[in-house]
Symmetry: C2
Subunit: 195 residues, 2 copies
DNA sequence: TTATTTGTACAGACCGTTCTGTTTGAGTAT
DNA sequence: ATACTCAAACAGAACGGTCTGTACAAATAA
């Protein structure tokens, strides 16, 4: 009953590997090698590779919802619109310097979302949680009259995030984030009130 | 010089298989089985699976650029803005009924674009060609004063297409295209002049 | 004939998973 | 305290399957 490997730590490591290599290109052997586990320990802790991925998605969602909330709630001296805009630009600017793999959820949606029901569901839930976390700041921006109130705040958030994902995918392939930054900039400029 | 199998036809079939299964989940054996080829014939015609994919991407790009141009140039009695909008809505509405795999280029970008330089380049080129094909109709809409001329037509086209890709990825995972249709609708509504 | 194309078997690597046996340590009885 | 029990955790070899790509002979074309 001696648990040598903390499940959350293993998931954290696996998550980082999934982020860098995707699902199919990452083998159990590599997960074990990096975490210092053996196959026996791995399959004792996780039912399957698919289940491991799903638990990793849940962990990623939890961590990122917290990150999103913290980030959007900080610098409250700045207007909500500005915080939203910087939130997205920051992800496009900083992440590519680390690696060009974009957002884990977006990648998994593309790689497995359509083929695997469980993974599709888990990644859709993660996306929804992100929308939830961002929407309140969109509402703030609307109340400040920085963002048009003509449309539903959830719809606007969906638009922000879908555009972000689409342009991130493009940045990943073209190895150039400038175009994506311009795209997000145009979207925000356009939705801004009193242009 | 008995070439039993027309290369373009084989690519066309392979393309359809890639669209349905992605890259990693589709084996050479299955390509051969469906096209009626044998391994010998396949590897005589194509250097590798990777090269086969790249040729398939080029074919897909060529075919779709033609399709895009034809579609956007038809119904010219309707205004350019309306044609653009219907072009995107149509892809979101009709494609899911066939399968939920979305756009081949978007999928390949996500699955391999970051990991494989050649594939990243080919899919980026395909994306650029799509933008080229769509941009002229965006220009028309701007000249008709249906779309804001405040921004560069290419930038606007990039925004349309990135949002389309992002929302398509979401639709694929959630098995629901309604949200994506609403997202595109909001984007178009917002960019429309004289709202 | 000579060169090219095709069919098939197979090499060799890799994958996720299972299997057997071992270790570990808390709980229990002595 | 000491010995025993037992179930969870672990180690890692082995398995069955899949994959891309190759070898090479047979078939076909030039």
């Amino acid at each position: 009953m001696n648990i040598k490997h903390d499940k959350e730590n293993v998931l954290k490591t696996g998550l980082s590997l999934f982020c860098n290599k995707g699902y199919n290109s990452l083998g159990i052997d590599e997960i074990c090698k990096v975490t210092g586990m053996t196959k026996g320990a791995f399959y004792n802790a996780f039912k399957s590779k698919e289940q491991f991925l799903i638990e990793a998605i849940l962990l990623y969602a939890k961590n990122n919802v917290n990150r999103i909330k913290t980030q959007l709630k900080s610098n409250t001296d700045k207007p909500a619109f500005e915080r939203l805009f910087q939130f997205y630009i920051n992800m496009l600017e900083v992440q590519p310097k680390v690696n060009f793999m974009g957002c884990f959820i977006n990648n998994i949606m593309s790689e497995l979302g359509a083929a695997n029901d469980k993974v599709g569901l888990a990644s859709t839930q993660a996306f929804d949680e992100f929308i939830d976390a961002i929407e309140s700041t969109v509402k703030d921006a609307q109340q400040n009259n920085e963002l048009s109130s003509e449309w539903n705040s959830r719809q606007i958030t969906e638009l922000f995030h879908s555009t972000f994902y689409g342009s991130l995918t493009r940045a990943k392939s073209s190895r150039d984030n400038q175009q994506s930054i311009n795209t997000m900039k145009l979207l925000f400029d356009n939705l801004k009130t009193n242009k």
